[in-house]
Structures are given as C-alpha cells and as structure tokens.
Amino acid sequence: MLANTLLLALREIRRNVLRSFLTILGIVIGVAAVIIMVTIGSGATAQVTEQIASLGSNLLMVRVGQHMGPGQTAAAPPFDLDDAQAILRDIPYIAAVAPSSSQRLTAVYGNANWSTTANGIDNEFFTVRNWTVKSGRQFLETELRAGKALCVIGATVAKELFGDQDPIGSSIRLGNFSCQVIGVLEAKGQSTFGSDQDDLVLVPLRTFQRRIAGNQDISLIQVSVAEGRSTDKAKSDIEELLRTRRHITGTENDNFQVRDMKEITRMLTGTTQILTTLLGAVAAVSLLVGGIGIMNIMLVSVTERTREIGIRLAIGALEREVLLQFLVEAVVLSSFGGVIGILLAVTGSLGLARLLKIPFIFNPGIMVIAFLFSAAVGIIFGFFPAKKAARLDPIDALRHE
C-alpha cells in the first residue's frame, strides 16, 4: 500500500511542478537562512575568542573611570606616569607596564589629511600589544626620554597620507606640530570590534604630553604579568595599590578599572553571542514566513484539489489512502526542500565565511532543527486540510469547481 501511495504522490508532485517548486522554495529559503545566520554567528564568536587568545592571556588593562555599561564610563581623575611606575616597582611579578594616552586628531601631509588617533607611548607598548615595525624602526630610549618630534605610523595612515610613496623620513603635521616618520607598523587589519587597528599614529609619550595633550595624564596602563603568575592576584594587587594612591577608602567604589583578557573575552563573546542570537531570531522569522508560505500553498492546493479527491474517492480510494497520499507528498516535498536548503546553506556559509574571513563552523544541530521545523510545517499544514477534504462526501467533492 505504501509503494502504491508513493507512486500516486510522486505522480501528483510531477504533474504540479510549479506548485511543488513554490512549496520547496519556502522551505529552502527558511532552512538556508537559519543555517547560514547561525553558522556565520558562531564563526564570528570563534574568531573573537581566537583573536583574544592570541593577544596573550597575561595582559591586564588598567583604565580610568568606572565601568557603567558597554562603552560608558564615569568621569574620574586620570593616571600619571608615577602610577605606572609604581605598579612596576611595587608589585614584584609584573613583567612590563606600558602607559599610554591617546587623542583623536588630523594628520596632514602635503595636500592629504586624515583623521586618526595619536597615541603617546613608550617602547613597551610594542611588546605588550604585539606590534612589529614593517619598515623603519622603533623609538630609541634617548628619543623617548627627550620627547623628540618623531612618529611611527600605522598602515592605514601610511596609505591615506602617502599612497605608494615611502613615508620614512618625511614630516607630517599632527594637529599643530610636525614630526618626522621613522617607521611604519605591520598591518593588523580589523579588530574584533570592527574598527581599523592600523589607523593610528604612535609618538613618544613625553612628546604627546607636551605637544598634543598639554598635560601629564595617562589614560591607559597596559600591564604584562610575568609568565606563570596568576592574573587574578595581579589584578587585586593593582587594585589595592591604585586605591591607596588615589585615596579611595572603605566601601567607596573604584574610579578605575582593571580588566584581564578573560573578562574582555567574556564581554566580546557575549556581544557576538547576542548578535548570533539576534541573527538567528531574524532567520527564524524567515523560516516562519517560509512556513506560512508552505501552509498557504498546501491549503490552496488542497482546496484546489477537492475535485481530484472526489474522483479518487468515487473510484474507490479509502479516506486513509487519500490522506496518506497527501502526507507522503508533503513529506517528500519538505524533505527535498530541506536537503536543498542545507546544501545551499553549506555552500553559502562557506562562501560567506571566506568572504568575511571568519572560520566556518559546521553545526549539525541547527541543520537538524531547521530541517525538522520546515518538515513539520509542511506535514502539519499538508495534513489537516487534506484530512478535511478526504472526509468530504465524494458527491460534494466531485461537484466542487
């Protein structure tokens, strides 16, 4: 009986190519959308985690202000160079500290100008942030101490100001003082936040304080903890030290924050996970819309096929045979659509992953879920109208136009 029903169902599908195609299309789009969104989302999360891990897990970021929420900080007095030196001096297992300060300004060379961020740094900055100089050189200790008008520029700044020219030795103007380019950094590309990491100019901290900021402030101290020592311990030691230095007592809240990479990882992966969920939700809506499409076509086709059902019943088909035929049709169409959707999704997300330079993560769970959902929609909405139709009086069904 099942073989016969399969034969009937396949003949029905074949004789209504357009209707079958439309049914399949809804499922294909729904399944593919969900799978692609989730795959890309988890790929992005994996990439963030990987990037942060490559930064080193022994890095602590000490910033002014209190963390209020994403991107929000309350105003607080800045650090100065002594704070950075105190951390290095008073806490024994700190390998390096890299105090820095930054400000947005416009860099000008000839007719070209480019809005970028100037960072006042010392050479530790290169170590803790894994920056390497592609051409030219880093600052000399004497240049740092003397606060010379020299700079190392990022790849983006080099491209925007100099194009194909070699920038080494040329002078650029930063705000209202000019300095000589002595090096260009190796390109790093986009950060996990989506900002361009190569869009920066590095100048000696002293130069920055005197010529750009006009004060002694330090906004960020990056601390590298000695290999094999606990970052948690370092974090609480730094907090204690800074509370003392900043005269924060008792239950008063810190007006600075010490972050380790674990926290940043958590924060960033949290963000991408929210993004994945969001994308997934949007895709789920498209799956739902696809489902409604299937439902529509199934409902319409059953109504349209009432006369056919009447013919079958008059010829001697049993109610359950008619039903089973519709069910098999729905299952065949939905499965076919689901398989095409999965194939499309795999190709699509492989391509997208390559385009966006994120890893492709194969997620069989979501494929199964998307497939089952669309199959269920196809079957349920194919089944109930068919059940109603199969119950019809054959005479009434035959008269139906």
Partner: protein, 240 residues
C-alpha cells in the same frame, strides 16, 4: 450471445422502498419517495426524467456514493445501508465503474495514467497495470493517445478515456451519469455504441442517466422518474 441467458435471472441491484430526504425541518427536500427498482446482471438500463425527478439521487445511491434515508438497497443481496464508508469505497473499487457528464479526469495527467488510477488502488503492479490500461484504451479506440493529457484531447476522446478508466477493472456495473451531456450528436452516438458493445460483449451491466431520447434508444430498458418515484418502466424492443 450469453446476455440473453443472463438477463432476468440474477438480481444485481435492488432498491426496496427507498426514500431520500435532504436537509431537515421545513427546509427538508424529499428527493426519493419510496422507489422500488430491480436491475439484473447484464441489463442496459436508461434512467430518464426531468430535472429534480430524483434520477441523479437514485444514481448516487446505486453507485454507493450516497445512502438511503429509508428503505433498503441491496447490492448482490448485501445491504449497502449497513456498510461503513470504507466498505462502500471498497465496493466501488471492486464492483463499480463510473462515467460522469464532466468526464472528471485528472488534469495534466496522461490518458494512460488516468486509466491506471483504479488499478493502482486495486494494488495491481507495474507491468500488468500498464498492459491492462493500454488494452482498455485500445478498446475505446484510443491506441496511440496514451501519453496525451486531457487538455490535449477532444471532449469525445476525454469521455472515451473516462470509459476506459471505468471498464479497466472489469466492473459488474458501469454507472454513467449523462455521459453524452457535453458532447455533440456524432460524438454522443460513438460513445453510446461503445457502451452498447461493452454491455453485449463483456456482459457489463450499464445504468445510464440521460435526458436525450436518442441516447435512451440504445438501452433495452428505460426507467422514467417523476417526483421521486418510478413513473414508467418499459422494455425497449427496438434496442439495437
């Protein structure tokens, strides 16, 4: 031929005091008012009457598509009124063939597949099903048209496909509801000759509703309905 021996011997279908009421209360409509009718194996009966006389209702009951409100309908001495919906479907599948005024073929489906349909429900496998369907199409003169869809066939050809579909299972009774109602005279006469030959040569009992005197002439017995009752029941001596 053998038909003279068959006629009048074994009752095939028998209506005993059959009434049919549609609706209820003041809206109730009595389509049949106690019809008695017996048709034996091998007969060719034309059912005539004005519209609303109850002839279509009677056909639906004889075709096991509908059940009587009162009275008994015996098919080979089996009371159809007591059968379930599924049992009636199986009775149609194994013993009845239908031809409708509107042909009622499946659209976009080849003639061969249309004729195969009742065989599929009977569970007849591929090669046998194929050859039986081809033979049935040949019997109605449609050899070579197997792969045409109803849309590519004329009305007369479509009705012949429908007849092939009805006789492919070699039914006991062929029920035809105004089979020539949508056809011109020449096509109608062809169809009637086809039906007559199946009745004579294969002994298939035919019950046909028609309102055309010309078509009723082919039948050997003509039953007239009026106001839900059999008004006249006569043997047609000049049947061809």
């Amino acid at each position: 031929m053998a038909d003279s021996a068959k006629t009048g011997q074994k009752p095939l279908v028998e209506l005993q005091g059959v009434s049919k009421i549609y609706g209820s209360g003041t809206a109730a409509m009595q389509a049949l008012r106690g019809v008695d009718l017996r048709i034996d194996e091998g007969e060719f009966v034309a059912v005539m009457g004005p519209s609303g006389s109850g002839k279509s209702t009677c056909m639906n009951i004889l075709g096991c598509l509908d059940t009587p409100s009162e009275g008994r309908y015996l098919f080979r001495n089996v009371e159809v009124g007591s059968l379930t919906r599924n049992e009636r479907a199986l009775l149609r599948r194994h013993h009845l063939g239908f031809v409708f005024q509107g042909f009622n073929l499946l659209n976009r489906t080849s003639a061969l597949e249309n004729v195969e349909l009742p065989l599929i429900y009977r569970g007849i496998k591929g090669p046998e099903r194929h050859s039986r369907a081809s033979r049935a199409l040949a019997a109605v003169g449609l050899s070579g048209w197997e792969h045409h869809t109803p849309g590519e066939l004329s009305g007369g050809q479509q009705q012949r496909v429908a007849i092939a579909r009805a006789i492919v299972t070699e039914p006991d009774v062929l029920l035809a509801d105004e089979p020539t109602g949508n056809l011109d005279t020449a096509r109608s006469l062809e169809i009637m000759e086809l039906l007559t030959s199946f009745n004579r040569n294969q002994g298939i009992t035919i019950i046909m509703v028609t309102h055309e005197q010309d078509m009723a002439r082919f039948a050997r017995r003509v039953v007239h309905f009026r106001d839900g009752l059999v008004a006249e029941d006569q043997i047609n001596g000049e049947a061809r």
